[in-house]
Every structure is written in C-alpha cells, then in structure tokens.
Symmetry: C2
Subunit: 319 residues, 2 copies
C-alpha cells in the first residue's frame, strides 16, 4: 500500500479560462488564458468522502452536491482512484461567470484535481490527471466527452484534441507574441441549446474547405506564419449557424479584424468572442472595438486581454 | 514589348507523379515522387500556334488535339499569356499509365509548361506557372478545379492546398527520412466515377474526427513525430466508400501497416495505393506485401519506391 506523507492541511489552486473551437477548429482546438480563471481550495477532512463546503462568486446555478458539480465529480474520481487516508472538502471560488463559453466548469474541475494532487505530493503526472477532469466534464455535455476545455486548462498552451475518446491531446507550438482579446457579452445561451442548433450533416465541399483551413492554421501556428493563420481563421460550418443567435456577432468580428486582429470568432459555444492578435496593443484596440459593438446593443460586456498561457494551472497557497 | 533572346531549339522536362488525398486529407494534401513521371519535349516552330506532334507510351486514350490534352491546354494558356515570337510543338512521353490515381495528366501539363518557361529563359517564377497548369487540369475534372496533383508536381515536396480557387498552396515541412511505396494494380476506375460515388453530405461527427486527424497529421509531419503521423493517417469519410470498389484495398492496407508502414491508403481516386514508411527497407517490405495482395487476386501490379521528391520538375535536355 502506498504511503501518503503529506503534512499539509489545505492547498489552493488556480486553473485558467480557455478559448475553444477557435474558428475553424470545432471540438479540436483550445488554448488557455492567463485570466480569468477559477480557484479551488482543497482541505483535509477526517471522514472518507469528497464534499463541497461552499461556492462563492457567480454561483447561483452551480450545485453543491459533489456528483452534480464538475469539480466535485472530478475530485471524487481522483480520490477513488488514489484512495488516500483522508477525505477532501473543497471551496470553489468562481472568478468568472458560468455559461460564458470560456470553460468555467472545466477550470473548476482542473483546479480541484490539481490542488488535490499537490496536496498528496504529486503522485500523478499532469497527463494522468486528464481522465479525472474529463469525468467531471461529462456533467456539462450530457454524457458525451468534449476534451477541449479541460485539456487546454490542464496542459496550458495551445492544444489539439485529435480524439476525445480515448483522449489524444497534442500540444502545438505557437508564436509567443500572440495576444488574445476576449469579450463576454452578458447574454445567456445554454451550451446544450448551442449544440442542438447545429445540423448533424454538413456538405462535403464545406468540410473540405474547413479541413483546408484547419491544416493551414496548424502549419501557420507552428511556423509562426501570422498571415497564414489569419487567412485560415475561418469557419464555414459552425459559426454561420451559431453566429446568428449571438446579437452583434458579425459586427464584433468585423470590428476585431478591422482593428488588426488575425481573426475573431466565438469562444466555445458562446456568447463570448475572442480575437487572436499579433500584439498587446492590437488586442487592446480590437477588444475595445468588440466591446463597443455590444455596448451599442445595450449589452454589458467584460473585456479580458491575455497572452496564450503556456503553463495552465498554478498553486496559489499551501499550508 | 518584351525581348525574347532564347537561342534554344528545344527543351525536355520531367515532372513527377504525385500522391494526393493521403488518407485524411481529401482534396488538400499531395506530395511528389521521384519516379514515375512524364517527360515533355517543347520545340520551337515558326508558326504561331501550340500543337502536339506525338504522344508515346500508354497513350491510347489521350487526345492529340491541343485543347483536349492537359499538357496542350496548359502550354497554350502559357503561350497566350506570354506571346513569344514563335510557336511550340510538343512531344509527350508518358512514363506511367493514365487513370492510375498518380496524377499523370498533371505531370504532363507541369512538364510542358516547365520546359517552355525554361525555353524562354525563365520569365516566370514557379508560383506564376500554377494558373497555366490548373487550366490544363480543368479538363480532367469537368470544370471544377483540383489543385492537389498539379501543386505537388510543380512545387515538389509535401503541399497543402488550403483553397483551390483561388489557389493557396502551402509547402509543409516533412521528415526527409520518409519513404513511399506505391502499388498500381491494373484495374480501371474512371476519376469521374470515383468522385460520383461520394456522398455530398457527411456526418458532422465524422467531419470532426477527420479534421482532428488532419490537424494532427500536419503537426506530426512538421515536427517529425512519426507516431503521431501514424495515428492520424486515417480517413473515416472517403476511403470507406472508395475502398469498396478497389479489389484488395483493405487487405493491401493491412499488409502495409503490418509490415511497418506509418499508414496506407488510396492515392488520388485510385486504384493506386500508397504506403508512407519510416525507411527504405520498410517501404520495400510494405510495397511487396501490398503487391502480393493484388497478385493473389490475379491482378498485375506495378511497385514504385521513392522518397518524397523535394524538387518537383527538372530539365532533362536543352539544345
């Protein structure tokens, strides 16, 4: 039997928000931001269980029951696999709204498992944590597995999900100069609904255009060819459908590109939109122009500016 | 008016056979072989015209009329654009069969235009030759433009066709150790028929699997990750349909992989099959195993072994 020599009482970890799909790469591309993100505190308890003590922040709709909460379920899966001689109580500090398309539930699950792994003196490598956070993510997608948010939050950087089941996650090189503007307009679009409006069939000729862009985007990203990235940041299949239900989508996208963004689109299933930019100053200009579009529609909107976060989660406190 | 100071009488050029689609990359991937390939001689004539003097080799079905022949039509487009003070007569030496899925018509068109450009002391860069060879290729696909064979034959190496119209061709890095086995079973499958059996619609979930593989293949190719290339050389959309009309397809593919190939599939619209291999010796073993499958079906089959040809066309003779 494994010996657990942790003398810690509690560990708090941060895991980042993530942008997925990234125009042409529906269900396969994702990258991590520096901020926002969620924080989760994992505390030792004597009883053999995983329980959620509290959720703070914009937590109105997030269940406190362990098995109905992505962080709770992920942490329980980790705890059942490792069978440490203590239970865990967690506190979830939501630092971003839920339902934004920025992977909030994934961030909480990654932070919880990351903190617990550190609490136990890192028995597992980060790759080995993926199955547990995927267990949590199943809650958000009705059983089907979407690994893009959790993979980007867990590994950081820009990731490719070749397949979600079994997970085959490939880190992609990317130019470190890239900056991202993310704008979250305050409207509600349930993920399941955004998935349901998609057609189950696509035209082969559209699929071919899409995979030409996907291949070109990967080549551009890895070779640091910003012009090629820009040409290929187009989605001819998903965004033409989803864009219609996000007020201001087309105007915001155009505003980003007119202000120098390499490309712009919907983050995850929305309503947040991202703009991938060649510099900090362009990201600021593009982001402010996007936010102004939503303001003109009388929608509140948050603006985040960030590089692509190469690290993923981090430990905030241990004691 | 431009001065043409060529003192040449004739130029002969070679352009290579090409493997396209490459499993997951229907209509977007292509690479050049060292052999086989076609040779075209371009000779000065005093009359202002482009004409075909002869076609040798397996030329039963290839028309001699300039405008019904891919090399003739490509060369005429070049000649009309540059208006040199002489006409051209060409001789086409087919060094491979037509209708094999190895881009024979593209090779002839590229060789013709390459020879003529050299004849005129290279007024155009190779990128500028693409529109002319595409003009020829239109003959083979009923008006729609498929740039994969011509781009690979003209530029050499491993190319990505992001879009065919307008052409956006991206050369991809590739590991120089790669070797290719190509087996051409002697059966006839007209290109138009192989296109017609494809469904016009595909399942979104299949498209997502396909683009995960495409993105992963580009990452693997560019980073020299042979394992990743191998995992992603899968086609869930086109080959399951086309494979059914090529006798021996599944057995040949399995034979290639069992003998160490990274992956194997249909070249172009078939019937030729390729195996992408990590070394010369594996390519030989895999190629012979594939050929043996066709022999067991009482089909004659040619085997070609080649690296990926990084150069494209070459000049064989000038005088």
């Amino acid at each position: 039997m494994r010996e657990w020599r942790t003398d810690l009482e509690q560990v708090t970890a941060f895991a980042p928000a993530t942008v997925t799909n990234v125009s042409c790469g529906f269900d396969i591309f994702g990258f991590a931001l520096n901020a926002p993100g969620d924080e989760v505190l994992v505390r030792r308890i004597p009883t053999p269980e995983v329980r959620i003590r509290k959720i703070s922040g914009d937590a109105g709709q997030i269940p406190l029951q362990t098995d109905r909460n992505t962080a709770g379920r992920a942490l329980r899966a980790f705890w059942e696999a490792l069978t440490p001689p203590m239970g865990f109580e967690i506190e979830i500090y939501k630092k971003m709204a839920i339902g934004t398309g920025l992977g909030s539930s994934a961030a909480s699950a990654v932070a919880a498992v990351w903190a617990a792994n550190r609490f136990l003196k890192q028995p597992l490598q980060e790759e080995a944590l993926l199955p547990f956070v995927l267990e949590g993510e199943k809650l958000t997608s009705g059983g089907s597995v979407h690994a893009d948010n959790v993979a980007a939050a867990l590994f950081g950087g820009f990731v490719l999900v070749r397949t979600a089941q079994p997970p085959d996650i490939i880190p992609l090189h990317f130019p470190r100069q890239l900056r991202v503007a993310v704008v979250h307009p305050h409207i509600e679009l349930p993920t399941w609904q955004m998935r349901r409006i998609l057609r189950e069939q696509v035209e082969l000729k559209d699929a071919v255009r899409q995979w030409g862009n996907i291949a070109a985007f990967v080549a551009g990203l890895q070779n640091g060819d910003l012009h090629l990235m820009s040409r290929s940041l187009q989605d001819v299949i998903i965004e033409p459908v989803r864009g219609k239900v996000i007020p201001g989508y087309e105007a915001a996208r155009q505003a980003a590109v007119e202000n120098g963004a390499l490309g712009s689109g919907i983050s995850g299933s929305g309503p947040s939109m991202f703009a991938l930019c060649p510099s900090e100053s362009v990201a600021r200009k593009a982001g402010e122009a996007m936010r102004a579009v939503f303001h003109r529609l009388n929608l509140q909107a948050d603006l985040y500016l960030s590089p692509i976060n190469p690290h993923g989660p981090k430990i905030l406190e241990m004691r």
